[in-house]
């Protein structure tokens, strides 16, 4: 295999220009969805109604026990049959966000359970309404502690975004593949794609570690 620097410099802007922004969008939107839905699932899992708890637990188990790519295909190829048709990127973001929500739900659960029982009891003793207890007492203590764990899931999620290639989302890997197929030279563009992911993952890890340190000194 011979590495051609000229060719590498030629395809680099293509890969970055076409793919990077899509990868970042998929990761950021997917993460936001996973954070929000995960919190919702974690709260529903504590519902006073047993049926709700069962349904949510079953849903979480189902999503976790099936491959992400099956979920992506299902949403992209099957749901349009019943009239739910979205563009590839939103479809992919929803599929990935939903999948990761079942993991972030577990993170939130641990964070909520780590809030001392005395906090609940003080809220009861002060007759704080249930909703206010959650929004002003429990979650403000639970969420900062789990931010690093959530960040780590965003890094995992980032590395799964190339799966969206299968439904036609042109991310970093997709752009690299396209560039490569034009000249039938893949080494340079695919390596560039790998390095870009490395850079993204490492910068995200550094952010997460900073967050960890800040959370450690909270309160």
């Amino acid at each position: 295999m011979d590495w051609n620097w000229d060719y590498a410099w030629e395809v680099l802007p293509e890969v970055i220009g076409r793919g990077l922004w899509i990868t970042i969008q998929a990761t950021v939107y997917g993460s936001i969805l996973a954070y929000v839905l995960g919190l919702g699932l974690a709260l529903l899992r504590r519902s006073p109604f047993r049926v709700v708890r069962w349904i949510v637990t079953g849903f979480i188990e189902f999503i976790r026990s099936t491959p992400l790519i099956v979920q992506i295909f299902f949403m992209f190829f099957v749901l349009p049959d019943i009239g739910l048709k979205l563009d590839p990127l939103p479809t992919g973001v929803i599929a990935i966000g939903l999948h990761y929500a079942t993991y972030t739900a577990e993170v939130y659960r641990a964070g909520i359970e780590a809030v001392p029982r005395g906090q609940w009891e003080a809220a009861t003793a002060l007759s704080l309404p249930r909703r206010r207890t959650w929004t002003a007492v429990i979650l403000p203590q639970a969420i900062p502690r789990v931010l690093p764990a959530l960040g780590n899931y965003s890094i995992s999620l980032l590395k799964e975004t190339p799966l969206l290639l299968t439904i036609g989302v042109l991310d970093i890997v997709g752009a690299a593949y396209q560039s490569g197929s034009r000249a039938f030279r893949y080494a340079e563009p695919i390596t560039i794609a790998g390095v870009l992911f490395l850079v993204l993952s490492l910068s995200a890890s550094i952010l997460v570690r900073r967050l960890e340190r800040r959370v450690g000194t909270l309160y």
Partner: protein, 269 residues
Amino acid sequence: MSEPSTDHAGGRSDVMIQFDQVGKKFGDNVVLDDLDFVVRPGEFVTLIGPSGSGKTTILRLLMTLEQVTTGTIYVDGECLSHMRRGERLVPADDKYQRKVRKRIGMVFQQFNLFPNMKVLQNITEAPIRSLGLPRVEAEQRAHELLELVGLSEKVDAHPSQLSGGQQQRVAIARALAMRPDVLLLDEVTSALDPELVAGVLALLKDIAKTTDITFLCVTHEMNFARDVSDRVLMFDRGHILEDATPEKLFSEPDHERTKTFLQAVLGRG
């Protein structure tokens, strides 16, 4: 089940708290057994006894942090565990309990301040959100209470920046901000460094003497109990062994068990 001795037509009743044949089990463990007692408005009643005798459970039942297994608790004539639905008494729901327990405040052994809120918000949160007080009024009240507990300068501090004694003073102010009729004190000095205990006790004594709040207090501070209590209840294994004035109970208790308990506690102090 006997009716509580209250007079709804004549304003304030002569009974603030009534336990009517209250039983509490945790699994097979009987913590309270057929307990009957009343506390009159404005009384300061201290519960003493060996640990595991059910004293703290009584406070927790009143605060609805636990539910009775059998029997009924009345607060100013209103049943805490059950509510009327038509002709029948049914287990109280969350909304009903919240209404009744608004009149009850509690100070905890571990303070349980909200660490994510500054001192001021710790005190104003419940009056605003639970009583519906306007913010200005709640803050005014908080400033007054902070002055009372001697922590005016800590209004913008976070709980983690305060000593244990200061945190407990804020917790007392927070409970008072709800203007409770009944204040429950659950071993409020047990988690404090010894040199901080006296200040908190002096504050509580001051509050007890200057307000008409009804106090129910679990403590191991016998000098404090003797000092402020109108009545002392000696508990043993879920029963009230003795119910007397502090003068009587501390100097000439009727029961041998009380004597040995007091000797053990006072000897230690």
